[in-house]
Amino acid sequence: MTIGRKGKHHRLTGVVFPGRIAGMTKVPVLGVLGAASTTMCVLFVGLPVAALCIRAVREERLLTSLTSESAMTALRLSLVTSIAAMVVILVVGTPFAYVLARGKSSLLRVLDGLVELPLVLPPVVAGIAMLMAFGRGGILGPALEATGISIVSTSIAVVFAQLFVAAPFYIRSAKLGFQSVLLDYVEISQTLGVSPWRTFFRLTLPLAGPSIITGIALAWARALSEFGATMMFAGNMAGRTQTMPLAIMTAMETDLAIALALSALLLVVSVAILSGLSIASRRNWQSRS
């Protein structure tokens, strides 16, 4: 046997594994690697979440904190604003995502790149940018003032901030969903006498459904957790602009117990929304057999 054949190349990783030379038994490199990395990921995410829950449960004032007026106000505001943002995102974002998926103009390709800008923009910067546009001293400030509409420091500002940071998640996902629907299906639908409008609702939308629900889940989760842009643009006023993340931040400065309770509450609500949506997306044709 030649020397070169003794070190064995692993088929997938390409790692030279000199198992036989050292007289060791062969170790499944990929298996060990996979198990180790899985454990690390699970621990890294799971440990803090578990710690949060354990600390919150052990807190004596948990129930009173949870049901306190301020907690309920923050939760209600978070839900109302994020749902409002999601409605706007769905109504405006869905047709836009469709146009991005099917359109052929070069302008759309530029827009396609711009859609992802809020994903890389730090939320604090987004907040300042929105202030410069809609704030009192902003570009649209005088015009808004003249019509008597005030955005800054209102719940509308919270919705604006959430829209700005969350919409790209939905639009991206929905666009990929629409793109995955082969044009051949659409063409066949039309030869069957079904108008383009009805084809969208009876064919394209159901087929893109899983991606759309994923997009809703991602965008909603992002809207619920929005902090930086809201802080900058809307401010931190209980009952008007103080959403859950802002309330947690504020509580953190005075009382850790309340902060823990609010965090646990936000965690539960987020997990409930995400798992509810993932069950909804699993109830579609793809995984039904």
Binding site: D184, T191, L192, G193, G209, W285
Partner: protein, 372 residues
Amino acid sequence: MSLGWIRFRRGEFVLATDWHIEPGQVSVLFGPSGAGKTTTLRAIAGLEKPHDGHVEIGGRVVFDSGRRIFIPPHLRRVGYLTQQTYLFPHLDVVSNIAYSLPRNRRWAGDEHIAKLVSDLRLEGLENRRIWELSGGERQRVGLARALAARPELLLLDEPFASLDSELRRALRRELRSMLDETPIPVMLVTHDREEALALGDEVQVLDSGRATAKGVPLNVLGQPGQGEVARLVGVENLLRLTVTARYPPDGTMVCEGHGLRLEVPLRDNSGERQMPGAREVVTVGVRSSDIILATREPEASSARNRFQGQVVSVELRPPGYEVTLDCGVELRCHITARALAEMNIVSGQALWAVFKASSCFLVSDYKSNCDK
């Protein structure tokens, strides 16, 4: 009835076709891939816009370049079935078939849908998911879905190409009987000669966007008169020979070359060409399936052409075998698997190739496999 003509330009490629199909008739577009067959169907369905043209479906003008008429696909009333079928994966079988019905009309009570399900032998499959169907079932569902919309023209783009030959034959029979019941015009794209012969009432051979031949399938595809057409439809033996003698009263002549002496009909199939002159060089076509192989010379036989040769090769060519025989020039003969087994044919063996004078036909241009 459906008729029309279209003209397409895509760079160098120019496509020009015209058609006229009566209800219940099948017009076949035959040709190699890239000839423009699919583009023609898509233009009729309204999925492509030709540069020039005039398309009528059921007596209604759906496209006219001169009058700037373009009716969108969903108002054209065509049925369009392709090889891939594209059944909708989020719907079960019966919802696929009933897809074209307005939502307020429930399929359950619809007689038309029920009849299509039974005519196409889809009972029991109504609530199956699409991925649970076999290839033949998919095509039947696709056909039912297209017919459920009550089209006034059916466009079939190699609908049976991915199926095995037995299934294809069964589906062809079903399609024919469906058409006898509901006579609508059909345009069928295929590159399968057997399919064109079995289904077509008329055939048009397309090559690089041009219609090179048109007529009754048996005339065009059975003994194709044009060299190019002969190549496309696969005439296996094309021999370049010199006319040495003519017998007008018998309607035959003798052609020689490559050490062969063939008796051939005087006129070509289309009847358009003049009788060839003496010493003229002609191309004679013989289909491999028209040649009989024999182990001894069949002396008492009416077949006028008999040649001895050696077997060069035996190749599988479904539904049988192709035996290549060297008789001075290579002759390709198609025989069944049983004949091959019974005669025990092997390479190098001496055999007789026998065929009738009427199996030979003149091909009007002079490309031949002897020159290759």
